[in-house]
């Protein structure tokens, strides 16, 4: 078979597989937003059927023949060409799929589905020992999965590689080690400052319909294309790409928590801008798909925090907010408001953590799950290890398991090796923004005028349009001129919070 012919058959098959996979996205989106209560059982059957069809296609032996025909061909001569990237990444997925025994895949799907439900019960009972056997089962299966994928390789690194291909545990650990002491110190300095934000202003009355209106205005202003997406509400905010021109986001609004709705929107908008910026013509091919969870998260963080919690952003939007919420904000100055939405304090809860302490929550999870996978920590001892790390890093101690090691459901869902991507996202976001600021100059002025197009265009050129052309570390280096680095994040935090807390 001619390589060109093989490549065309390959891309045709893969694009069709992507169309089928996008049906799964539609089913999933509906399940999180509008499905009636009794419809869930049948939805699981629909999902299982499509998952089976997708697995058959992903492991189709014909793909192996096509890859063989492409081996050493001219198409992969330039490793950064779209063809070479597609072949490289599709081959990686195919090798992965055929290495996993179907029984293991099905058992993992079954057990993680139950474990996620059991986590909810354990959380409600605040009882780690109830959840522990499920973590044990999931760990065992995830270890088996990692061993099947890369025999004789570090298991945790293989797990990390699922979400952040191209990053080694050594690289991640080095970055995190560099952050640890600095963040603990910065958190302590802030806590010692006499400056205190007035948080109560965020808990005044914010009518839901106006929150939605404000959120839609802000989303559109930063560049979310409502013709190619929409905003709904759901218990857990998320984004989903239902097609090349159909990227949907959700948030949750709370009448007495201004931040939940808006920052939820800006976070998911960040994910969506990445997805809306991918090449629609290459939909379903690696060159048209996002590259890693860390890079994805970086866009959520960049648009939510770096942009959405910046003073210039609010110079533009605060007058609008005040006009929409006169009862809540008539006696609040811009500076007071800006301080309130950037308040820093050590806490027990990751999801609600501020920009400074957030990464310490991640470092704790990274340490705990590495030790679990390595067998250095018994699942029974997680609460103790967890609480001790919270005491050392954040100076707070959970009163119970729900406040502590049961707060996240990731492990029940099989997401082991996933937590680090949150902090990688913060690191990438800071590094990208530092570079964009240096190149574009006066981004603050843009934001103050409600203009975000120059930043969005820069990210589009440097990140979005590349799809999976470069693995994440190379993408960052290509975009910023430097390998992933902890300095930009620390510098940005010190600058912003140094000013806010007058350190």
């Amino acid at each position: 078979m001619q390589p060109r012919q093989a490549y065309e058959e390959l891309t045709r098959k893969v694009k069709e597989e992507a169309v089928l996979a996008s049906c799964v996205e539609v089913l999933g989106w509906d399940e999180e937003t509008y499905i009636p209560g009794a419809g869930v059982a049948h939805r699981a059957e629909q999902q299982a059927l499509l998952a089976g069809l997708l697995h058959d296609r992903a492991t189709d032996p014909r793909l192996g023949e096509l890859f063989a025909a492409l081996e050493g061909s001219d198409l992969i001569a330039d490793p950064d060409s779209a063809e070479a990237v597609n072949i490289r990444e599709l081959r990686r997925l195919y090798d992965r799929a055929v290495r996993l025994p179907r029984s293991l895949v099905e058992e993992l799907a079954r057990i993680t589905s139950i474990a996620q439900r059991e986590w909810v019960t354990a959380y409600e009972r605040s009882d780690w020992s109830y959840f522990q056997p499920w973590v044990e089962k999931v760990l065992k299966l995830k270890r088996a999965e990692a061993a099947a994928l890369r025999p004789d390789h570090d298991l945790y690194e293989t797990m990390l590689d699922e979400y952040e291909p191209g990053m080694t545990v050594r690289q991640v650990a080095a970055l995190f080690d560099a952050l640890r002491g600095e963040l603990i110190e910065l958190t302590g300095t802030i806590a010692a400052s006499p400056r205190r934000a007035n948080l109560s202003i965020l808990h005044r009355s914010y009518p839901l319909d106006r929150q939605r209106q404000f959120g839609e205005t802000a989303a559109a202003a930063v560049g979310f294309d409502f013709r190619r997406g929409r905003l709904d509400t759901s218990p857990h905010p998320f984004f989903a790409r239902l097609g090349p021109s159909d990227c949907r986001i959700t948030t949750r609004f709370n009448h007495h928590r201004f931040g939940d709705g808006l920052f939820g929107i800006l976070h998911e908008v960040g994910h969506a801008l990445y997805e809306q910026g991918l090449d629609p013509e290459a939909y379903g091919l690696p060159i048209g798909e996002s590259v890693s969870i860390g890079v994805h998260e970086s866009q959520a963080r960049l648009w939510e925090n770096t942009v959405g919690r910046s003073l210039p952003f609010w110079r533009h939007f605060y007058p609008q907010a005040r006009a929409l919420f006169p009862d809540a904000l008539h006696d609040v100055s811009l500076d007071e408001f800006y301080f309130a939405i950037n308040h820093v304090a050590p806490s027990l809860n990751r999801v609600r953590a501020d920009e400074v302490t957030y990464n310490l929550h991640i470092l704790i999870r990274f340490e705990v799950e590495r030790a679990l996978v390595a067998g250095d920590l018994d699942t029974a001892d997680v609460p103790g290890a967890w609480n001790e790390l919270y005491r050392r890093y954040l100076g707070v101690i959970p009163a119970n398991d729900a406040e502590g090691c049961l707060q996240d459901g990731h492990w029940g869902g099989g997401l082991i090796g996933y937590f680090p991507t949150y902090t990688l996202g913060n690191l990438f976001a800071a590094q990208l923004f530092e570079r964009a600021s240096a190149e574009l100059r006066n981004l603050d002025d843009d934001f103050s005028q409600g203009r975000f197009d120059r930043l969005l265009d820069w990210l589009q050129q440097r990140v979005y349009r590349h799809g999976q052309r470069y693995p994440a570390p190379r993408l960052i280096e290509h975009a910023t001129g430097a390998a992933p680095d902890h300095h930009p994040l620390l510098a940005a935090l010190r600058r912003k919070y140094g000013e806010l807390y007058r350190l």
Copy 2:
């Protein structure tokens, strides 16, 4: 192969096919409700892919082997048993699917998809000659389809059989002939009555959120189960069954047209009560599926008109309506309101027609499309034939094609032989309700007290739970003791409108 074994394999395959088909329903529901504008193109790709997968399954030669193994087996000894019904109806679908060349199926899908869009343009331009070549193309393909399905059979009867299996053209024509003169006469008598409803009260201010609240209350009261369904809005009201316990309906609300939202809801609720009343355990099998379009429509008509436009229904609901819409209804008596929602007048428009004249609109379409299929009417002559029939039956003449023969898009979509099912629905509804009233007695009292459970239960027992056990005419006979008949509808209309117009 043992027949029992063959039957089990058959039902397993068919149930899986139903799960896949239900994914199509999810995609379709989303397309009509929430999809962003730019998402439509990819949705068409998703639909085409799943349609192809479904076609492959529907024509799987293995099904032919299974039917052969079931031929003459004990399982079909009792023709009304679930097994015999499933085998009979699945075999009918299989024979149908394998008789149609794939090229014809694809061409029909392609042409009707374009013709539906072209109809919109033709309607906007009010120009039948623009649409005519597309009707010509669709007709040609539908004729070919009918010829492939039943060689040497009346083509129009084969088309009708797609929607109303078990009814012959002769039966339908006899029923319609019996209605024609009587309905023309009744319409004339009503027009001659000096009594006139005050329609303006329905065009006062009806806030949308309260219309929704009222509609949801009424839907729940008659028995729509919101745990197994939901209500949304869409440009064209519809119902969709996304799973055995997930039946969704839509309506459209208009601030200044009270009836659009509420009666749209009650109509779709009627469809939904039928679907929610099917046996969920038999989902995907004929014994658990609705039997015909006419019977489906009968439930929409029964709950919208027979129940929802009855005086007892409003004895219960009118105080609530008045409390919700005090500005609009404070000076309107129950009798005035009841008269307004039951106003009768000849008109040009089918969708907005009243209960009496509605069927004349259908009779006209039946005559026109029969003549088209038989070749007795040239597509170029449709406007003339249409307008002449409107003049004769309803005494009104369309001023242009948009008001006349372009008002419905059915033919563009390939729905030829479909229109009769609307009037069959009205006939079945009247016949079922007459029987239910006689058996249950005092249904009026039920409605006046907001109770609909005895009627719903009767329909459940007599109609819904049977699925496709009996073809529609036998189902009606089984439920009412008489073959499909025109007397109950005429009697009900004479009684109701005789009182209203004091004839």
